[in-house]
Symmetry: D2
Subunit: 299 residues, 4 copies
């Protein structure tokens, strides 16, 4: 990675060495907030942000994301987690703590159209995407130059339906080598096999170039044009084994009119795809997304 | 109709007594604009607005909407139309002239939810919808008071699938009695029979409470909620005999999030439905919409 | 008030008899959330919604809005408040508890243009504005019919700069008579005197027909037109004694272009004004707004 | 320039060798459209797009932009222009013909923040900005690498108020050397001298980081934060000698809330600045903008 970005990352880590996020998902019941906030207070933690949501006030699930600052977190962290077990048990919590200083390793998969990748790289360079973009994997050579110019390794792995198994073997080796936490499909036009998807459950983010559930599958702009819609959209979602049916993270749209042919729609759409995907990636990196069933809660 | 609205309509008619709109749809070829504008100039007409669109620069259809002002139009109109026939023949034009002073007679069909009707009535009162809302027909009594308070006749015709034929007979009598030019389905939850639709081709405007083609058919908000979308929308379209498949006139959307249950989505959606339907009705009344195949050109 | 609305209000009160909102503003320090949530838990209260904000993580102010459900709140309320004093004292809290069943009494002031009032009345009728619109006061007769048709008292008090003192005396008598909690200036084109404003600090909501701070003062649409802007907006804010300088609650905009003259801008603007004002009023009624200095925190 | 972009430009020129745009601004009078379209028809030209606008139907100015395709335009062009003089004289037209194959030479001025430049370069690479970005001039070295990597000359000219005269001399030499048609100030934080501005009247496009006329001048995000606005914006305009008062081309906004500090506003704002400036540049390159007084007509 180039020196300039490396420096930004180090500054970020230093500034956030005492910062963590606690995510909880559990059956709703009185006393959870009291118990958790009391526990954190006991460690001298100051709650910086807290968002909560009760799925249905009477009897549903309860979700909370707490971001806190705690002196000496590096040293206290593991003990804090251990002691939290009793709280977790009492309230039957599904929980995790994410340390902000441990930035995530990201792999980007891309095919021929580089606009989404470019936006990610640009936000990465600007310090707005705080991850380690460890590797870019593509079934085309198009993006090699722009990726390598930032000091990021680029792997060209040609791909098609017939050799998927072998391709995914190579990809998995790279994902392991670079200890990847999250995979971003930045207009990667290949379908992943079920086992691949399961290995990275809720950790593969895809951008689909339509306002889902309209125009699931191939050629959404062509079909939007044929239907004569007045708006086109893009949708980011976690990948599941039902094509374009995974939990939606974010959507956005823009206006088109009768003057826009398919090419014009694609150009407009690229701009939406770029921003929708980038927002989703940022939320994922900030641990703002909780998946519940086939939906997301975005705090 | 009450006196205040009647007065607005008379003022509008007087101010527009020399104003007309010429709509043309024809195979593209050089010389059309020259011939048409030369023709209008010959009558002393001044072109106020002109919008054109060529479907595909090489070999497609050509569409133009010209709004013009012409002294003594009331007297010259029929002669102008007669003489235009030779131009129309030469270029094989599909055309019509609409006189702005001849405001359209509108019928509104509504079921239980009155929000779209209310918006139309409010825009009507404000002079923003320049039509004669001649009659409101409903299969519920809910809206009677608000309609009659404006001096508009209200007819309650209970309806269901089994008695559709008889209901439509009654409706058609009313449409004839009030010489209706355009029907607005302002959340009218009954399906119209094929012959009814054909009698008013491209003159029945419906509002569907989803971002079509997502959630065609019943209970779109419920299905949007189940899918976990991050935006909900509404779509206005001309009614055809394929449910929710008619030419789209306008669409709009608004954001929702995980906190919004079905009821909250409905409330947000009502606001979108109101504005999308109202915009469409205004465009129709201004003769801004040309239907071509299953699409609209909105000038 | 008419029976239909009265019924909606009664249902709302019954459904929310155990619901309250606790609003806190205090210097940031560890332990607040723990103490407050522990306190509520002690009363068997279940936290339904909680939003918090720390102005500056290191040393700024802390704000929280907690909505909770508590069995027997009607009986427990005063004791709960009394016992909360010790928590409040310990953390130096500026706080209040609002009981959802105690819906607010609202007065609407309006001049000649009724669009904002109409939107409020429509949302009121629909049960989306849960307040008691107790009185409408106007310096024009325009709105009398629509107001009285809902059973709401309407007072016509002609007004101008020279008789402001006397006019405000009459207005204040009405405000006292109807025990008004919040005043909405729904395009009321008169300036209120400083003492009037002070008596209702952070309880008078105004809609200004521009995107503040652009076009402060009179004739904003005319000035927007002269400047050739490509978007117009509206701003709602709490009234202070600096004209159009009070804490902004909400803003929105819409596109205009060179074809829009001042009248067209006004029509577009009315639609923005309606929705911006209505959103603000709902947030105020839901106790979602905390004023801090000259800014609002909207939870 | 790199080979890939060069190729795109050549393809574009070849495809548009017979395409031109006629822009007219004149006093309104009947017969203009007829005369102009008749004239073009006489040359066998086919009108592809035509947009017109009459400033005030009774007695104002008339504006039209006609895009046409004409076989052998390269050869016929000068004769066509010569013969058009008689039409122009008859109707007192202010007019110009722009040949689409003659793509414009663009200079970009930038200071420290590269986001707007980057967006322009990215759209340039993608073939969405059809100009020859001939030179980038900056008073910082920040952008050198990204510019030179595309084969575009980059000049570092340190600048401040005291040496403005000398700096502008150097800049002007470069503008002449590269035969610049249009200058884009992509967050160039220096004020240009009056003579410089006059030399490039309506050919210098600036992006201002606020929703003008709010926050004219320095530090708009800081002032937006202090005022507590709920939306921030950006404005592109042609540069005149009144700071931030030139004819507005485009504006856009995005939402912020109490959680956004100045830095967060800047990041949100950068995204708006990028898209607003890029849209404006595209419209300028497509000859869609006519300046009239201190306003723009954007066709």
């Amino acid at each position: 990675m180039n020196k300039y970005i490396e420096e930004k990352i180090q500054t970020f880590k230093a500034r956030n060495k005492n910062r963590a996020r606690l995510l909880i998902n559990c059956p709703d019941q009185p006393g959870i907030v009291a118990a958790v906030s009391q526990f954190l207070y006991g460690y001298g933690a100051n709650i910086i942000e807290s968002d909560q949501y009760t799925m249905d006030p009477m009897g549903g699930n309860f979700f909370i994301r707490i971001e806190f600052e705690c002196d000496g977190l590096n040293e206290k962290g593991s003990q804090l987690e251990e002691n939290f077990l009793s709280v977790a048990e009492k309230f039957n919590l599904d929980w995790k703590i994410m340390y902000v200083r441990e930035i995530k390793n990201m792999a980007v998969f891309v095919s021929k159209e580089p606009h989404c990748l470019l936006e990610l790289l640009w936000e990465f360079q600007s310090g707005n995407i705080m991850a380690n973009i460890a590797v870019v994997i593509s079934n085309h050579e198009t993006a090699r130059d722009m990726v390598e110019s930032l000091g990021i390794p680029f792997y060209y792995i040609p791909s098609n339906r017939d050799i998927r198994k072998q391709v995914e073997e190579e990809q998995k080796e790279l994902l392991e080598k670079y200890e990847i936490d999250v995979i971003v499909l930045a207009r990667y036009m290949q379908i992943l096999s079920p086992t691949f998807v399961e290995d990275y459950q809720h950790r593969i983010i895809n951008i689909h170039h339509s306002f889902l559930p309209a125009f699931i599958g191939a050629k959404p702009y062509e079909r939007a044009f044929d239907r004569g819609v007045k708006m086109i959209g893009a949708t980011s979602h976690y990948v599941t084994n039902d094509l374009d049916e995974g939990p939606i993270i974010e959507q956005d749209i823009d206006r088109v009119d009768h003057r826009d042919n398919v090419d014009a729609m694609k150009k407009t759409g690229q701009s939406i795809e770029r921003s929708v995907l980038t927002r989703s990636v940022k939320w994922h990196l900030d641990d703002r997304i909780i998946v519940e069933g086939n939906k997301t809660i975005v705090f």
